[in-house]
Symmetry: C2
Amino acid sequence: MRDFMATLSSQWDQGRFLCVGLDPVEELIPMSEAPLAFLAKIVTATAHVASCFKPNLQFFLGLGREGILILEHTIAHIRQVAPGVPVILDGKFGDIGKTNDATMKLVMSGKVDAVTLNPYVGPEGLDPFLRQKSLGCFVLCRTSNKGSDWMQKMKLQNGNCVYEQVAYDVMTGWNANGNCGLVVGATFPEELAKVRHIVGDMPILMPGIGTQGAEIEPTVNAGQDDRGRGMVINASSSISYASKEADYPKAAGAEAVRLHELITSFRKAA
Amino acid sequence: MRDFMATLSSQWDQGRFLCVGLDPVEELIPMSEAPLAFLAKIVTATAHVASCFKPNLQFFLGLGREGILILEHTIAHIRQVAPGVPVILDGKFGDIGKTNDATMKLVMSGKVDAVTLNPYVGPEGLDPFLRQKSLGCFVLCRTSNKGSDWMQKMKLQNGNCVYEQVAYDVMTGWNANGNCGLVVGATFPEELAKVRHIVGDMPILMPGIGTQGAEIEPTVNAGQDDRGRGMVINASSSISYASKEADYPKAAGAEAVRLHELITSFRKAA
């Protein structure tokens, strides 16, 4: 298994910070194309600017019995047309030890480079992921949904909010193998800036661009590290469903390029 | 879709409190049987004492491309041999709104009665589950793993630990449709008693019996409500893998009966 952090760093060296999220919803796929054909075209159309691809496991499960097969074939297609672009399996995995060993079978068979993890069970429960030095582990810190305050902004006796404590502890404890990142919604730029301050140059996956309403300029301003890096800025629906017509691969490619160029324009000079 | 809470209550009326967890691990299946045949035999052997069956989604994903198909067939088998026994899909789902709509397709197509949810994204993100009145929603509160203190026992400024706050808020807010329960590990009987005190007669799913080390007596003492009900006591591996030989269905049935009788013996007189 190749090292995720090295692969990501090489993408950053090439100035790529856009993550293309793959959230297939049968009813939204243009021209009623088969999901795999649709996903393959989106991948091909965006591969030249994508820093990562992020298939969301739940959307593939929503495709039915063939979902896992479609996921595997989609990843195989990514390997073929974009061998240097790592794959983040967005499963928000949050079960405990032995159960996570089962999930690791999916991760290994899919040749996935990184996963997303839910921190609620703690690092001991998530150890089957964290101990894989080459596997990127993006831990949910501040999710992009509008109701994410409920637990994430609970105030602790030490003065931190829960999401800040997650950032501190992942930074100082969970990241012993240097394979951790965080997930912080681009929908909360002020809190994104706080987390960036806490974690230095750790990678932050930032969902929420496009359909969820976040803009590129505040996201890059708040999310980049001192060297204008550290960002994995995700857009899903706004790329995949940019057009409902037969020209959708072209439209997806154009939207990805537009986002990529916006990101580039707001980055600090290296 | 039938109402989960009504179905569960009818199981309790019949004195059934044991939940049979289905965690298929290919390497552990006796006699190298096919996973579906193995699961069907475990279900048939335990159906006469099971209050619920709880397939854990991650273990099915670990079976490979056929995992979702095997899950669907297993649920179909449960419907056939034990139509009154509800199915809890243990997915620890914890994504946000639109993504959960995709998961609901799996839930509906599988004719699942209840799910487990991770609370980190908050009730707004989980609304696609919570708003389904007939769907049971078991929210992770205190997980059974030994490192679950990390977030769950963080101390809040109001004096509660995070897991206590989850119990309070699910009880007073999330449960507007009367379809919520909590997950509290049997491995922590003192905290199970605290949660029971907070939530009254709300159903509590209690994993951790058997392989994880929890015992029935303290679990029932701490976990039952005032009427000796409210319990969904889960055992998985200790039932499914009770024998490595051809007699494994008989051994599984015997272990389920043993646990059922132990639970019965420690319950308060109704």
